[in-house]
Amino acid sequence: MKRRDFLKNTAIFVTGAATVPAGLEFMTVKEALAATPDVRWGFLVDTHKCIGCGLCVKACKTENEIPLEANVSRTWVERYIIKKDGEVLIDSPKAALNGFTSKESDQNAAGMFKVDDEDIAQAFFVPKLCNHCDVPSCVQVCPVGATYQTKDGVVLVDRKWCIGCGYCVMGCPYAMRFFHPTEHVVDKCTFCYHRISNDENSACAQACPTGARVIGNLRDPEDPVSKTIMNERVGVLRSEYGTKPQIFYLGLNKEVR
């Protein structure tokens, strides 16, 4: 190695080595903590506790001014009937606005099906609501900046800014978005942002008589929702889409989609 090459390489190495700590010093611990908000809303659904009364759906629609009889809803409850031969029947009549009162399962065009009691292996309810994902695909596709995520993790729609193109409706893997029949813009679950921002419970969680639905702050380690998520075996829906959903479910199984 020539002396010239040696000096050149040394200079490059020293410059490179000096760059790394310079980059690390970019952000102090204090700054890093300040950048992490102390509230991140999340939700826990216990499918064992859900009794399919649909009071959550009624409360949600009333609270958020979604016409009761319109066939759209920010949240709904699905009934899964898994037969002993493996067949799965899923239904959610009127988004479970009036609960589940019949043994007949509504299979849309195929008609109403009644499963004999002794043929049922498993049957349970799964409430659904917006997952307020950490990587919300619906937000990414909005061409006008009408839908967005707040600092505390809630995905909202700006009603004055939405042009109704419907990209987000298709971009959501969970089919949570719909057109509001009277506002004529896209609508979705807001986690009752007006309630949780004022120290109130979300309408659905407050209406739930069994505590199957609980909203909580995922940044607070003492929060009941955080504690359950840390200590119990929870699952999320459709994790394969990579959207990092923030509704955590107790008691999911492979039939739940």
Binding site: A59, D158, R159, W161, Y193
Partner: protein, 158 residues
């Protein structure tokens, strides 16, 4: 540069100026990338406050007990303790000012949300006493026999 280059260029500049002027007038000042960056946080900031100001319909769970202590206590000691008052009487809105009198939902449809008998193994629904609404005293209101606030099947006169 020659005239034939400048002339169309001036037109282009004029169009760009008009677009920028329109944008400055149309896009609100608080529109931009906020807390979640360009990809997830590109929005009109004041919309967050607009959502926070959305009017509540349901009052908090302990609101009713402020005045209706007796009813709240009766309910709290009964089997329907976990059902919020406003599930049957609500939403409270600004009661007692508006509405002055709360509606009461006495319909069978309300009761059979939970008490229609379904076979639901692996669900808490299975543990709730249920009836077949098509056969159980079809023409009567549930509240004619059952106490909605503190129901008790054992104490009922059969």
């Amino acid at each position: 540069m020659k005239n034939h280059v400048w002339r169309p260029l001036i037109v282009v500049f004029a169009i760009v100026a008009v677009i920028l002027a329109f944008r400055a007038w149309y896009v609100p000042e608080d529109f931009g990338s906020h807390d979640r960056g360009f990809t997830f946080g590109f929005h009109r900031l004041s919309n967050e406050q607009e959502w926070k100001d959305f009017p509540s319909k349901y009052q908090s769970a302990d609101y009713c007990a402020n005045c209706h202590e007796e009813r709240a206590e009766e309910s709290a000691n009964g089997k329907h303790a976990t059902i919020g008052c406003q599930s049957c009487h609500g939403p409270a809105l600004e009661h007692p000012d508006n509405p002055e009198k709360m509606p009461i939902d006495r319909s069978r449809d309300l009761c059979i949300r939970c008490h229609s008998e379904l076979v639901m193994p692996s669900s808490a629904r299975n543990d709730i006493p249920g009836i077949d609404p098509a056969e159980h005293n079809v023409d009567m209101e549930c509240a004619d026999c059952h106490n909605s606030h503190a129901p008790n099947l054992m104490e009922m006169e059969m």
